[in-house]
Symmetry: C3
Subunit: 132 residues, 3 copies
C-alpha cells in the first residue's frame, strides 16, 4: 500500500472544505441580499465571507507544508498533523458562523498543526541538505 | 514520452490565466482611476477585481485536484478535465468582463470539470487505500 | 544529496513570508483598532492588508512555477530564480509597509524572477512534449 494516499485524502478533504465555505457564501448572498460583486452589506454575509477567505488563505500555506512533510519526513506524520489541521479548520468555520467570538479554539488547533508541519518539514529538508 | 508533461502544460496555462486577470485589474486601476489600495470605486474596476479574485480562488482548489487526478488516476484524464476547466475559466473571465449576467456558462463548465477531477481523484485515492 | 531539497527550502521560506504578512495584519488590527471582519478603516492597516493579499496572490502562482521548473528543468535553476523571487517579495513587503511609493523595485524583481520560472518551465515542458 502506497501511504502517499493518506496525505492525498487529507488534500481532497481540505479542497472540499474550501468548496463548502464558498457554497456557504453563495447561499448567504441570496439569503441576506448582498448582490455580487459587493462583499459587505450584512453582518451575517460578512461573517461567511471572512470564513471563506480565511479558509482559502490557510489552505494556500497548508497544502505545500503538508506535502513537504509527507515527502521529506513521512506520509504518516503529515497525515496526523494534516488531520488535526482539518479538525481545527472545520471547528473554526462552524464556530465562526455561529458566533465569531468562539472561533479561537479551532483557529489555534489548526495553527499548531500547521506549525508542526512547518517544523517537521524544515527538519526533514535541512537534515537532507546537511548530508543526513 | 512522459505524459506528466500534459498536466504541467495545463498548470502553466492556468498560471498564465491568473496573471492575465491581475494585469487586467492593473490596467483597470489606471483607466477608471481607482488608486491602490482601494478595491472599490468604479463598477468596471470592481468587475475586473471580482474576476481576478474568483480566478485565484478557483486556481487554489483546481491545481491540487488536477495533480491528484494525474498521479492517482492518470495524466490523460487529468489533462482532459483540466483542459475543460481552462476553457470554462477563460470563457467566464471574458464573459464577466463584458457583461456580468453572461458569466454562468463558463462558471458551470469549469465547476463541472473541477467536480470531475475531485471525483476521479477520490476514486483513485480510495481504490489505492482499499488495496486496489 | 537530493537537490530537490533546495526548492523545498525556498518553498518553506515563501510560506514563512506569507505567515509573517498575516501576523503583521493581525498586529495592525490591534494597533489601529480595525476590528474583524472589517478590512478598511485606517490607512496603515489597509497597507498591511494589501501586502498580505498581494503576497498570497503571488505565492499561489509562484509555487507551481517553482516546482514545474525544478522538475522539468532542474532544481538549481529553480532555486536561483526562486531565491531572487524571495528577495524581491521581502523587499516589496518591507518597502510597502514603510512607504507605498517605494514598492516598485521589489515588485519588479519578483516579477522578473517569476517570469523567468515560467519561461524556463515552459521550455522544459515543451521540450519534453516535442520528444526532446
Amino acid at each position: 500500500m502506497n501511504t502517499m494516499h493518506w496525505p492525498a485524502l487529507v488534500t481532497l478533504a481540505a479542497l472540499t472544505l474550501c468548496f463548502a465555505t464558498v457554497a456557504i457564501v453563495g447561499r448567504a448572498r441570496g439569503k441576506y441580499r448582498v448582490a455580487a460583486p459587493a462583499t459587505t452589506g450584512h453582518a451575517l454575509f460578512e461573517r461567511a465571507f471572512r470564513v471563506q477567505m480565511n479558509t482559502l488563505e490557510n489552505t494556500v500555506i497548508f497544502l505545500p507544508a503538508l506535502w513537504l512533510c509527507a515527502l521529506f519526513v513521512g506520509p504518516l506524520v503529515a497525515t496526523a498533523l494534516g488531520g488535526l489541521w482539518l479538525v481545527g479548520r472545520v471547528w473554526y468555520a462552524a464556530a465562526y458562523l455561529r458566533e465569531p467570538k468562539s472561533r479561537g479554539g479551532g483557529f489555534v488547533l489548526a495553527f499548531v498543526a500547521w506549525a508542526g508541519l512547518m517544523i517537521a518539514a524544515s527538519w526533514g529538508v535541512l537534515r537532507g541538505l546537511l548530508g543526513g
